[in-house]
Assembly symmetry: C2
Homo-oligomer: 220 residues x 2
């Protein structure tokens, strides 16, 4: 399947490598292709089949689109990708509205948290796209390979307004190694408020453990 | 030990019963003693030894003080209790800044979340009191009896500025059944921002599971 990844940081690179390895055709979307290729020379030498394009080109290319850009620029990236290019498609939103302007650990961008979220903002910008929020509550190593810890037995939340799109995303998550019993459907996209709000505790636990290779498991 | 509990809702009642059962002397603090006693007639008949007093009287009575009032009135309760009555004491803060004014599930009170918290606000109001935030991330049945689920193996965060006070609270938590390996020290009181911010995900998981008898365990 043609998969577009919007964002070329560590998360985007990890997804590109993993999904290319699973046999998909990948295009990484970025603002400026040439400067990104220069920056990612090492990545490109190890992943020669991964394509590069503008956000617009990547959005047009992807049958499935994964958004992993930084929270501060996420809205701008969606606008660059173009509503028209994303119409009718499933967009997996892994962004978090982290605000690094007020010291460390980061807080959440006020207008994109509490009674709003990047998931909802994205769905509003793309009314004809099926936005599914998932995977945004953990270290990227676990997103693409959940069995790295605890036999893959830890929680990944999923939410969105379209049941069929969530089923599509669950199958995609299965491909990455997620078992259905680890996927917790929290309902519509407003639940993104809650999953994005787990970042502060994630960051504090990370600070206490000095490692990102952990996740939360719900026990009862 | 003389323990004051500020707040007479479900959480306060649960703590009073449990701590009286462990042999402590308990005073429940409330705004108006008579109306509270009328409302809690059934509780009183089952827990005749539990004392009642104003917030001020309870704060003066307690060698250890537990704050379990509603987020919207928590600051007012601390002011009523009186800085003088709490000086030099350990105050266990279990409050959460839930805002029920913007629909369900509740959001967080903007001025008491993200770059602030009820834990920090309480510590600022009580500069000579040792505020320790803990237990605020779960259903009250688990606070007082963690072994109700998963053999007690799930996380309880603890934070505060005073290391000795945190050790005192850890021993208190041990009395309630918490094992040290379940207690995760997140550092100073600013970590309350993160633990209070877990309420949105707790409420969504509660909505999905239709039961409060769950908690999060950190796996790695």
């Amino acid at each position: 399947m043609n998969i577009a990844i919007l964002g070329t940081g560590g998360v985007g690179q990890a997804f590109a490598t993993r999904l290319q390895g699973l046999g998909h055709d990948i295009m990484l979307g970025t603002r400026e292709v040439q400067s990104t290729k220069t920056r990612l020379a090492d990545f490109i030498s190890k992943n020669p089949e991964v394509k590069f394009g503008t956000f617009t080109e990547a959005a047009a290319f992807g049958e499935l689109v994964i958004h992993v850009s930084k929270g501060a620029t996420a809205v701008e990236v969606i606008k660059s990708a173009g509503e028209k290019n994303l119409r009718g498609k499933v967009l997996i939103d892994i962004t978090n509205p982290l605000d690094f302007s007020k010291g460390m650990p980061p807080s959440l961008i006020p207008e994109l948290s509490n009674t709003n979220s990047l998931g909802e903002e994205t769905q509003r910008l793309l009314p004809n796209t099926k936005v599914v929020k998932t995977l945004n509550t953990m270290w990227n190593g676990l997103m693409i390979n959940p069995s790295l810890i605890n036999n893959g037995d830890h929680v990944n939340y999923i939410c969105g307004n379209d049941a069929d799109a969530k089923n599509t995303v669950k199958k995609f998550l299965n491909e990455l190694g997620w078992k259905n019993e680890s996927l917790l459907d929290l309902g519509d996209i407003t639940a993104a408020r809650a999953t994005e709000a787990t970042l502060p505790i994630w960051l504090r636990v990370y600070g206490a453990k000095q490692s990102g290779a952990f996740n939360f498991k719900i026990v009862s």
